[in-house]
């Protein structure tokens, strides 16, 4: 049996590993997606002033700081009993939509695109955004980057800067928008729509319209029939910031719908000795390990989940794409690779939504803060690009934090990722050899989730290096294989 | 860096406990130490020479003396360094006597501690820098604020010494309260008679520029050179022309209460404050002048042969530069109305001591007659001490002059109205002063009835027939310890002294502080009684605290002497410990600006950054510790020097 030496250096980037456990018959018994990052925010946020948490927790992740910031701001709204006035809400939504474009485009062009658009024979070393830019032509590349910068600009106008905003505060925002700000945003919103259309076209032409890709999507090994959870707006449509949490069964029917504040009655986390990551599952269904189907509490979040939970978008062009998506993949769509497509469509929605908001008279309002009320407890839930994000705080009467609980999307999806990997591995691996295709496929799979483990791992979402380890049932290491290390 | 370390035995004072040899041996091993010696008495001539020799021959650039406390001999050794051509501030002392040998019983512990202090001194001195005492030239001119007896005295003294003097008085005439008094205790010589010559001398002395009817508007406190701006109020009479003949006054139809007589008589709209006024010039009071009020009359213009009247006069502003300031702004009499139970202002024949002074003055409203409001002469008069003084409700302090003032009044009463009954209510008789006690005896001899007790209240409601039409003082005679009722015709309230209304602004303008009771605060109650924390600003007279005339005069002399000594030397010498700012690091945050007690920090208008006004900096370092960008540091106590000492002491 081939025994691979583990180069100690590989541990340096071992922020994510995949361990595959074989049974005695050499059958894949389990596949475990392992992260080793640990920061301890839940602990060192205790003792801080609650209003500082939006500042501190945004640093959980430099890739999706706005998601954490906004979840935290919403949690502190509740903690200080200070519902934000309409103007503040609208500025928040506008900024958040800009963030969605900012993040989704990065993910698409930096990860999905290289996999999907570059010739298969492209050497891995060149499978990156810079290479992609070279391929689609420097001009187009520059254009994409320039257009995307419009999103960064909007984030800077509203939040002072694109990464780690100085923006929200309990009960509102700290700086309102001037007319100059608004017209500056209006100009850029047009560029964002252009970017969104362009991106959708790229995807449509390069992927959605290609049979081989759709077949790949539909490959049984890459389909996971799980529960899905996401926020839905009052109208049952996709909403990034507000609404209740809805969970749908693998058959698409609604399993439960609840107020974000009661998340504890519905989610529970298991933690396993070999990873710092936690494994959430639906409390009322129960933890059956990495199993799909209706009896297993395993659920997934993120773009695909949003598509499977909600009944579409409020903006026309995005809704069009949504319907095409369902037509092509069915509903609910269990094809893990479909995450990418959903993501691309959401870019369009966010851009469209900005063009609506920018003309809303209330946007430039002066009332941007509300009175603080009783201090106590607060749960803030938003749809991060990668899915449901929960911030939950408690504070004493001085507003000093006494308790913090965070569930990040990639944690929600942890089980999902493991399941996908396991299923793919079972399908692909025989014996102790790890055949070539495993890498590409498995990699594509977890890239679909775009696990942002910075909130976990420090790679542009998904581009993390992979390391396989094979264990026997007794947990003895049989072999290992590294990729991208 | 070459450092010399010198450990003193101080006889057995140090060597008796500290193992000096061990300390020397240890010191010699430390970095930068070129030589380490010990000697029986470092402060002795040969001891100092030892240091001098090493500086010259070994070229030491830093010296550590481990001996007594620096408070004791730092100057001695600094001089030793200078004599040998080294900078005196390259010295650091380790106090191994007061802080070690005298307070530690165990020789081992003592020696260890001594070592640490020596090591600290060595690591500190190696970061010290040569410093020079600051010399700031002093302008040869004085500003005296206040034209009362203290101000006049101080002005004359400085002028006689040949210095230019500016005497500022806010009233139309100098003279202050003393000019209002009739007699002065205990000698009873006439106040005017002794004051007038001095007042006249003020105008005669060409070194004095009298700025009457003027006030100090602002002053920029720069030690040695104060920039003062003064506003001269318009008299509406051209002083250069007015002869003081007062014809205008006699013809003028406008009337107003006479301030000089405390409103007990009327004066004209154009008037000369009082016969002996200096300058002897008329002044027009707009409020009562028909021309200013109704645009009619102009009688004065008609009758002024000198045609000095000038209705068009405007306030004029003067800018002065002076080297020293003497504040002699005097006091304000306690307002007797505040003691409502004494009925002043309600009961017609209850008057204040100052009103009584005017009454007895020949030039006063009653031409020297002591009379009741109805013109009768009083048969019985009560004098009450401590009105507004020694009382938690008003002023806790003793106004000091009231006892003698009251005794003087008792005497004057007997003198003017033989046979009048005088009751003198006192708490304690405070007659401490040359000839005072004797005067007290004399007054008692004259038959004044001394009642030891503070009247509870004064009423005109009779409780028995003989009290009809009388003022009744109800007081406990604490000697007989019985409450008694004393019916009298007139009551004189001996009011205490309070800080002037303008004391607060003045203190602010001249950046000197005040004590809780509002009087100016001296730099040291014993050793610097006429100085203030602001170098070059001195205080004299009742503005510093209640005092009588001789004291005021003496203090005025002292203040003058201080100012003269300073100007005579020609410069200030200030410790070299000043804050310095690195403008490349200053962000202009302004944290330091308002916390300096001496206004030594100011914002540079162009850049918005901070500047240190060296002459004002006293070297406390409050701003240095506060400066969040480490742009400020303190010569002699630099951050790195103190840190070095710390590291040395913990090494």
């Amino acid at each position: 049996m081939k025994r691979l030496v583990i180069n100690p250096a590989t541990r340096l980037e071992g922020h994510a590993k995949i361990a595959i456990i074989m049974d005695d018959k050499g059958e894949v018994q389990d596949a475990l997606f392992q992260t080793v990052e640990f920061k301890g925010f839940e602990s060192f946020c205790i003792g801080r002033n609650a209003e500082e948490l939006p500042v501190i927790t945004s640093r959980i992740c430099g890739v999706c700081p706005w998601a954490h910031h906004m979840a935290s701001v919403k949690a502190t709204d509740a903690l200080f009993s200070a519902p934000p006035p309409p103007t503040a809400q609208k500025v928040r939504e506008l900024a958040y939509d800009a963030f969605m474009v900012h993040d989704h485009t990065a993910v698409f062009y930096a990860l999905a695109a290289p996999d999907l658009l570059l010739d298969p024979d492209t050497p891995r070393a060149q499978r990156n955004i810079l290479e992609l830019v070279k391929r689609i032509g420097r001009d187009t590349g520059a254009k994409v980057l320039a257009l995307r910068k419009a999103a960064a600009d909007i984030l800077t106008i509203t939040g002072g800067r694109a990464t780690h905003p100085i923006f929200g505060c309990p009960g509102g925002i700290t700086r309102g928008l001037s007319q100059e700000d608004i017209s500056a945003i209006r100009d850029r919103s047009r560029q964002l729509v252009e970017l969104a259309e362009l991106t959708n076209k790229v995807f449509q032409d390069g992927v959605a319209s290609k049979k081989e890709f759709i077949d790949l999507f539909n490959t049984d090994a890459f389909v996971n029939r799980s529960y899905y959870a996401s926020l839905v707006g009052k109208d049952g449509r996709i909403s990034f910031l507000d609404g209740d949490v809805r969970v749908v069964k693998p058959d698409g029917s609604t399993y439960e719908e609840f107020k974000p504040a009661s998340y504890m009655d519905h989610f529970e986390e298991a933690s396993l000795p070999w990873t710092y990551m936690k494994f959430p599952y639906l409390k009322n269904v129960g933890w059956k390990g990495l199993q799909e189907g209706e009896d297993s509490g395993l659920y997934r979040v993120g773009p695909l989940a949003r598509f499977n939970v909600a009944k579409g978008f409020t903006t026309p062009r995005a809704q069009e794409k949504f319907e095409l998506f369902r037509e092509t993949l069915g509903s609910p769509a269990h094809q893990t690779l479909a995450y990418q497509w959903a993501r691309v469509i959401e870019i369009l929605y966010a851009a469209e939504r900005i063009t609506e908001l920018v003309d809303d008279p209330e946007l430039g309002g002066k009332e941007i803060r509300s009175q603080l009320g009783k201090i106590g407890e607060g749960v803030g839930v938003v749809e991060a690009p990668r899915g449901l994000l929960v911030h939950h705080y408690r504070a004493d009467e001085r507003g000093v934090v006494t308790f913090v609980n965070l569930i990040v999307p990639s944690t929600h999806n942890n089980s999902g990722i493991c399941l996908s990997v396991k299923k793919a591995a079972k399908h692909l691996i025989r014996g102790t050899e790890i055949p070539e295709p495993v890498f590409n496929r498995v990699e594509m799979l977890y890239r679909a989730y775009d696990p942002c483990l910075a909130c976990g791992t420090h790679s542009l979402p998904g581009a993390m290096p992979l390391k396989f380890e094979l264990y026997d049932s007794a947990g003895r290491l049989l072999g290992s294989e590294s990729r991208g290390l | 860096m070459k450092i010399g370390v010198y450990i003193c035995h101080c006889g057995t004072n140090i060597a008796g406990v500290v193992d000096v040899a061990k300390v020397v041996e240890f010191a010699a091993t430390l970095p930068n130490v070129a030589v380490a010696r010990d000697y029986k008495y470092m402060c002795s001539e040969p001891g100092q020479n030892l240091i001098g020799e090493d500086i010259r021959h070994l070229g030491l650039d830093g010296v550590v003396v481990a001996a007594c406390s620096p408070t004791m001999h730092e100057p001695t050794f600094q001089t030793a360094l200078s004599r040998a051509g080294a900078n005196p501030y390259m010295l650091q002392m380790a106090s191994i006597r007061e802080h070690v040998s005298w307070v530690t019983s165990d020789p081992v512990e003592a020696t260890e501690k001594a070592k640490k202090l020596v090591e600290a001194a060595i690591s500190r001195v190696s970061l010290q820098e040569p410093l020079e005492k600051r010399r700031i030239p002093v302008k040869q001119s004085v500003l005296v604020v206040g034209g009362g007896i203290a101000g006049i005295e101080a002005a004359l003294k400085c002028a006689d010494a040949g210095k230019k003097v500016y005497l500022v008085e806010k009233e139309p005439s100098i003279g202050g309260h003393m000019a209002m008094f009739d007699k002065t205790f205990p000698t009873l010589d006439c106040s005017q008679c002794i004051l007038t010559p001095k007042m006249v001398e003020v105008v005669r002395n060409e070194n004095i520029e009298l700025l009457d009817y003027s006030e100090v508007r602002e002053i920029s406190v720069h030690v040695g050179d104060f920039k003062v701006s003064i506003v001269r109020k318009p008299r509406y009479v051209d002083s250069s022309k007015c002869t003081g003949c007062a014809v205008c006054s006699t013809k003028c139809p406008g009337k107003a209460p006479d301030e000089f007589n405390l409103g007990m008589s009327k004066r004209k709209a154009i008037y000369v404050p009082f016969p002996q006024a200096v300058p002897l010039k008329a002044v027009i009071d707009r409020e009562s002048c028909l021309y200013f009020q109704k645009n009619i009359c102009k009688v004065c213009v008609k009758f002024c042969s000198a045609d000095a009247i000038d209705f068009e006069q405007k306030p004029e502003e003067l800018e002065l530069g002076v080297g020293a300031v003497i504040l002699a702004t005097g006091f304000k009499p306690f307002d007797a109305r505040r003691v409502s139970e004494y009925g002043y202002g309600k009961l017609p024949n209850v008057i204040t001591s100052l009103e009584f002074e005017r009454m007895t003055s020949a030039s006063g409203p009653t031409a020297g007659k002591i009379v009741l409001k109805d013109g009768r002469e009083p048969e019985s008069v009560a004098i009450v001490h401590c009105v507004g003084s020694r009382n938690v409700n008003y002023n806790v302090y003793c106004s000091k002059i009231c006892c003698m003032q009251s005794l003087k009044h008792a005497h004057l009463l007997k003198e003017h109205l033989p046979g009048v009954a005088v009751y003198d209510f006192f708490i304690d008789m405070r007659a401490a002063g040359k000839g005072y006690e004797e005067f007290y005896k004399r007054v008692m001899g004259e038959g004044t009835i001394m009642v030891r007790g503070r009247p509870a209240y004064i009423t005109d409601v009779p409780s028995k027939p003989e009290e009809k039409g009388k003022l009744v003082l109800v007081a406990e005679d604490t000697v007989l310890s019985t409450v008694m009722r004393y019916p009298v015709d007139m009551v004189v309230l001996s009011v205490g002294l309070e800080a002037g209304e303008d004391a607060k602004e003045l203190a602010h303008t001249f950046t000197c502080s005040r004590t809780a009771d509002g009087f100016f605060l001296e730099r040291h109650p014993k050793l610097a009684p006429v100085s203030t924390p602001t170098a070059g600003v001195f205080i004299a007279g009742a503005s510093q605290g209640p005092k009588d005339i001789p004291e005021s005069v003496a203090q005025a002399g002292a203040a003058a002497a201080e100012a003269l000594a300073m100007m005579g030397k020609g410069y200030f010498e200030l410790e070299p410990y000043v804050a310095r700012i690195d403008e490349d690091l200053c962000s202009g945050c302004g944290i330091c600006l308002d916390l300096c007690a001496y206004n030594a920090l100011e914002r540079i208008p162009e850049t918005g950054l901070t500047r240190v006004v060296e002459a004002l900096c006293q070297g406390c370092g409050a701003c240095v510790a506060a400066c969040p960008s480490n742009a400020l540091d303190l010569d002699g106590f630099k951050n790195n020097q103190i840190m070095a000492e710390l590291e040395g002491i913990l090494a």
Binding site: R11, G40, R59, G62, L145, C169 | S587, C589, P628
Partner: protein
């Protein structure tokens, strides 16, 4: 185009970080391409699929500039830091985490063991409270070092690029200097030597405050200095270079740019400054100032949000037990 002189080699490596520093580089927009044209990126896990071998393959001191993004909290971070030191001609502490410990440095406010327990047992959504405590033992997982360190506390650092994230113009400044082959003195900070106040547009009038307010409690006058309005702003004690962006957003500076030159501890600097001007108008015998700082619930979190590991005390007292 003809082969130009060999491009400078650039690498961006990661410790304990949110990777916001290097992710924000993408916001250079098209400008990013200009940079990438002129340098050879040998290693940048965030931006490109680079192999660690690529970095290891470079001869020692073979990379002209390595930006190290993140604090050092576990053995992985430590080994990465040491590898970077070995390979870099010039090693830059990139971002507040690398320079001062940053937000991950807040872990120094408690003991790591305690934190593990809290996060893995204490939380309500955890079903199996007993399990998962043998992390430290598990050699599959990198060992926690017991506290967070700034990069220069574990290896020698050449230049500093503070900020959370570092303002792009400062990053551009460093890259330009490197591309120009400019000699950069060791210990150079790519940030201002003056405090944030120097860049802050707010009007400064009188620095004496009677009460402390939290930034969310009042709506400050947008034109006047926040500190003068009683909001604890670390601007006066913090390096500029950020154009006072937080103050512009009506929020106080939290000090991400770190301590000024000659200063070791921006937190202490600010405490001293604040206490000096607090109740400045109430200085008299009677004033005992009890409770004047009751409003400041959390000095540690307020004055050391980004700089705890690099401060003078560095971390909470290590329990002798």
């Amino acid at each position: 185009m003809k082969p130009e002189r060999t491009k400078p080699k650039l690498a961006i490596a990661l410790g304990a970080t949110c990777s916001g520093c290097d992710y924000s580089l993408l916001d250079l927009g098209a400008g990013l391409l200009d940079v990438t044209d002129q340098v050879e990126i040998v290693y940048w896990p965030t931006g490109i699929d680079s192999k660690l071998e690529d970095l290891q393959a470079v001869p020692d001191r073979g990379v002209d500039l390595i930006l190290f993004d993140g604090a050092v909290v576990n053995e992985d971070n430590l080994e990465m830091a040491r590898l970077c030191r070995k390979k870099a001609k010039m090693l830059a502490a990139f971002g507040s985490c690398g320079a001062y410990g940053g937000i991950p440095g807040l872990i120094n406010s408690g003991s790591p063991k305690k934190i593990l327990l809290e996060v893995y047992q204490g939380l309500p959504t955890r079903s199996d409270k007993a399990e998962a405590l043998n992390f430290e033992g598990e050699d599959a997982l990198p060992k926690m070092l017991g506290q967070a360190y700034s990069l220069d506390q574990v290896v020698d650092v050449d230049v500093y690029l503070p900020g959370c994230p570092p303002p792009l113009k400062l990053v551009a400044g460093l890259l330009t200097d490197v591309l120009a082959g400019k000699a950069i003195p060791k210990g150079t900070f790519y940030a201002s030597n003056r405090a944030v106040c120097y860049e802050c547009k707010r009007v400064k009038e009188n620095k004496s405050i009677d009460a402390i307010h939290r930034y969310h409690e009042i709506q400050p006058d947008p034109t006047r200095c926040l500190l003068e309005q009683g909001i604890v702003c670390l601007g006066p004690a913090t390096r500029g270079g950020c154009d006072a962006v937080c103050c512009t957003q009506n929020q106080p500076c939290r000090g991400c740019m770190g301590a000024l030159p000659h200063s070791e501890d921006s937190g202490a600097e600010m405490m001293s400054a604040l206490a000096s001007i607090m109740e400045l108008n109430n200085e008299n015998k009677e004033a005992d100032y009890t409770g004047i700082f009751d409003g400041l619930n959390d000095p540690l979190g307020t004055f050391y949000t980004f700089t705890l590991p690099k401060s003078i005390l560095g971390r909470r007292k290590v329990d002798q037990s």
